[in-house]
C-alpha cells in the first residue's frame, strides 16, 4: 500500500514508486473556503523541497502551495485548473494538484504521517 505524508503547510503527498501525487489537505480546503482558482506548475519543472510550486485562491484568500519534496513535476491536474470546486469536493482524491518524481525519497522523513498531522490539525481548529 502506498503511504501518504503531510506537511506543516497542509500539503499531502501519496508516494507510489518514485512518483508522488500532491494536493492540499481536507483541513486546508475547509479553512480556505470555496476555492475559485488554482495555478499549477508545468510538467518538467524542477523544484526543491519547500519551494513555492502552486497557488490556490479562495473567496477568502490566496495561498502559496509548497513542494512537499524535491523533484521534477511529471503531471498537473488540468481538471482542477478547469474546475477548482473539485478541491473542495475531494481534496484528498480527485482534487490532487500535481505529480512529482522524487529526487530524494529521504526527504519524506521531514514530513508527518497521518496520526501526527491529525494531531497538528486538532490543535489548530
Amino acid at each position: 500500500m502506498s503511504a501518504i505524508y503531510f506537511s506543516e503547510d497542509h500539503e499531502w503527498i501519496q508516494v507510489e514508486g518514485d512518483i508522488g501525487t500532491c494536493g492540499i489537505t481536507e483541513f486546508a480546503q475547509e479553512q480556505l473556503g470555496d476555492i475559485v482558482y488554482v495555478e499549477l506548475p508545468d510538467p518538467g519543472r524542477g523544484v526543491a523541497q519547500n519551494d513555492e510550486i502552486a497557488v490556490v485562491e479562495s473567496v477568502k484568500a490566496a495561498s502559496e502551495i509548497y513542494a512537499p519534496v524535491s523533484g521534477e513535476v511529471t503531471e498537473s491536474n488540468e481538471d482542477v485548473a478547469d474546475d477548482p470546486a473539485k478541491v473542495n469536493a475531494d481534496a484528498m482524491g480527485d482534487g490532487w494538484f500535481f505529480k512529482i518524481r522524487l529526487s530524494d525519497p529521504r526527504e519524506l522523513e521531514n514530513l508527518m504521517e497521518k496520526a501526527a498531522y491529525d494531531a497538528l490539525v486538532a490543535g489548530q481548529s
Binding site: 470555496d34 475559485v36 482558482y37 473567496v59 484568500a61
Partner: protein, 507 residues
C-alpha cells in the same frame, strides 16, 4: 396590519428605492439623445477591416440615461453616506474645501506640457507639499511621481535595487526580501516584480515581528525588509529601532510601508526610527478621495543613501524659480509615470495639510487612534481580541468568539449591511482566523461610534446566542440579497452578449 416585508410591488420598486435593470436591457434600437445628420458617403479606405456588424450600444434617450445612472448611484454606499470602517483603507471624510481648491482653474485647467514659466504656481504647490511630507516623516528626499501606494513600493524597491547594484551588491548577491506574515499583499507582490524572492517573517504572540526570527533570517543574501508600521494588526511595531539596526547591520535596506501613517502623523517621524524609504498614501492619510472615487497618489520619502536613485522628473529650485528637472543625474532609476504625479491629489492633500496645520494633523492622528481604542474598549468583552490592546488606528478581532455558533465572519459582515454600515475588512490580515479589521478614522463623532458599537453588540449577541440561520440569510434589506461570490469568481460573466443564455455564452 400589513407586514411591509411581504408587500410585492408590480414594478419591482420598493417605495422610492427603485429597481434598475442593466442599461442593455433598456435598449430601444435607434433611440438616441441627439439628432445627428446622416454621415456623408466617403471612399472606404479601411481595406476590408471595417466593422461588419453594429457596435451593439443600447439606444436610449437622455432622460433614460440620466435616470439609469442616478438610480444606480443610489445603491452606492460611500463615506459621504455613513460610517465606512474598512480596516487598512483609512476611509476618512474628504473635506469639501479640498475639492473647491482643486477645482480652481489655475490648478484644474493646466496641462502637463505647458511651458515651465506658466506653471510656477503648480510647481510651488508640489514643492510645498513635498516639504511638508519631508518634515512630517523626518526624511531628506522625496519622489512625488508614484501614482499610488503599490507604485510607491515599486519606486522604493527599485531605488534599493539600484543602490545595491551601485555598490556591487546587486544581482544574485542579495536576492531575498523579508516580509512579515501580516503584510499587505502588495509588499510581496512588489518584491516579486522587482525580481526578489520573498521570505516571510513570523509574528510573535504579541502580533509584532518576531525579532529573533528576523535576526536569524538576515544575512548577506537579504536586500531589504518591507514592514508596515503600525502593522496590519493595528499594532505599533515597538521594536522597530532594533529592527532597523539589525537590518542595517546585515547590509540591507529598510522599506517602511506608510499605508498606516494616519496613526502616527505628528507623533512619530519615521526617519527617526531608522527607515530608508517609505511611501505615503495621500489618498488615505491626507484625505484625497479613493475607493473608486479618484486616483491614488503615493509619494516616496528616501534616505540620503537612496536619494541619488530617485525617479525623474523632480522639482528643483534654481535661479529662475522652480524647474521640473527631467535629466538631472544618471543614477536615477528613470521615469515611473507619464507626467509628474497626480496633480489633483497634490492640491487636495496640501489643502488638507494647510487647513489642519501641524497641530490639527497631530490631533487627527490622535483622534483616529482614540476612536479605534474606544471601539475596542466597548466590544472586547463580547468580541475576541487576538492580541491585547491598546491598538493604534484600527482594531482587529478574530472569529474565536463565534466558535461553535455556526456564524462566520462573512455572515457577520453581511448582517452589518442590514444595520446600515459598510462591513469591516474581513479575513485580513491572514495571521488571525476570520479577521474583522475595523478602522473608524478620526472622521467619526462619538455619537456615530456609539451607533456602530450598538449594532456590533446587537449582532454579536445574536450570533453567540446561536441564531446562525438569521446570519446565513443576511443581508435582508439591501437592494440585492446575498450574492454568490464563489460563482462570480469561478464563472464570471464580464460581458453583455444579449438576452437569453447569457451565462453560458460568456464562458
Amino acid at each position: 396590519m400589513t407586514d411591509p416585508n411581504t408587500i410585492v410591488t408590480s414594478s419591482g420598486h420598493r417605495g422610492l428605492d427603485l429597481a434598475e435593470p442593466l442599461i442593455f436591457e433598456l435598449d430601444s434600437p435607434g433611440r438616441c439623445g441627439v439628432d445627428l445628420p446622416p454621415a456623408p458617403a466617403v471612399e472606404n479606405r479601411l481595406g476590408g477591416l471595417e466593422r461588419q456588424a453594429p457596435i451593439g450600444l443600447p439606444g436610449l434617450s437622455e432622460p433614460q440615461v440620466v435616470r439609469h445612472f442616478v438610480r444606480l448611484s443610489r445603491n452606492n454606499f460611500a463615506i459621504d453616506a455613513g460610517l465606512y470602517p474598512l480596516g487598512s483603507c483609512t476611509m476618512k471624510h474628504n473635506p469639501r474645501l479640498n475639492e473647491k481648491v482643486a477645482r480652481l482653474p489655475g490648478f484644474a485647467d493646466i496641462h502637463p506640457m505647458q511651458p515651465m514659466e506658466t506653471v510656477q504656481g503648480a510647481l510651488e504647490l508640489i514643492d510645498t507639499l513635498a516639504d511638508w511630507l519631508l518634515t512630517l516623516t523626518g526624511m531628506p528626499a522625496i519622489a512625488m511621481s508614484p501614482a499610488a501606494g503599490a507604485h510607491g513600493e515599486l519606486c522604493g524597491l527599485m531605488t534599493i535595487r539600484a543602490a545595491l547594484e551601485a555598490r556591487g551588491d546587486g544581482g544574485d548577491a542579495r536576492e531575498v526580501v523579508l516580509v512579515p506574515t501580516s503584510a499587505h499583499g502588495t509588499n510581496p507582490a512588489t518584491a516579486a516584480i522587482c525580481g526578489y524572492r520573498i521570505e516571510q517573517i513570523p509574528a510573535d504572540d504579541r502580533g509584532r515581528v518576531d525579532l529573533a526570527a528576523l535576526k536569524e533570517k538576515l544575512g548577506p543574501h537579504v536586500a531589504a525588509i518591507m514592514l508596515t508600521n503600525p502593522n496590519t494588526c493595528g499594532l505599533f511595531e515597538n521594536e522597530i529601532v532594533e529592527i532597523a539596526e539589525a537590518v542595517h547591520a546585515a547590509g540591507a535596506y529598510f522599506y517602511c510601508d506608510g499605508a498606516n501613517f494616519n496613526a502616527i502623523v505628528g507623533k512619530v517621524r519615521p526617519g527617526d526610527l531608522g527607515i530608508d524609504c517609505m511611501h505615503l498614501n495621500l489618498h488615505k492619510t491626507f484625505s484625497t478621495p479613493h475607493g473608486g472615487g479618484g486616483p491614488g497618489s503615493g509619494p516616496v520619502v528616501l534616505a540620503e543613501a537612496l536619494a541619488p536613485y530617485a525617479p525623474l522628473p523632480m522639482v528643483v529650485r534654481n535661479a529662475d524659480g522652480l524647474e521640473l528637472v527631467e535629466n538631472a543625474f544618471e543614477s536615477s532609476i528613470g521615469r515611473l509615470k507619464g507626467f509628474h504625479g497626480q496633480m489633483g491629489m497634490f492640491v487636495r492633500a496640501l489643502s488638507f495639510i494647510l487647513s489642519h496645520g501641524a497641530d490639527g494633523l497631530r490631533q487627527a492622528s490622535e483622534d483616529a487612534v482614540l476612536n479605534a481604542n474606544y471601539i475596542m474598549a466597548q466590544l472586547q468583552d463580547l468580541f475576541s481580541l487576538p492580541f491585547p490592546g491598546p491598538c493604534m488606528h484600527e482594531v482587529l478581532f478574530d472569529d474565536s468568539f463565534l466558535k461553535d455558533s455556526g456564524v462566520t465572519t462573512l455572515d457577520f459582515a453581511k448582517a452589518m449591511i442590514d444595520e446600515g454600515f459598510h462591513p469591516m475588512t474581513m479575513y485580513f490580515p491572514l495571521v488571525v482566523s476570520g479577521a474583522m479589521l475595523i478602522e473608524p478614522t478620526e472622521s467619526e463623532s462619538k455619537a456615530s461610534l456609539d451607533q456602530f458599537i450598538a449594532s456590533m453588540r446587537h449582532l454579536g449577541e445574536r450570533a453567540v446566542s446561536g441564531d446562525a440561520e438569521f446570519f446565513a440569510g443576511a443581508p435582508y434589506l439591501a437592494p440585492y440579497r446575498r450574492l454568490d461570490e464563489t460563482q462570480a469568481a469561478r464563472k464570471p460573466v464580464l460581458r453583455w452578449h444579449g438576452g437569453a443564455g447569457e451565462a453560458e455564452a460568456a464562458e
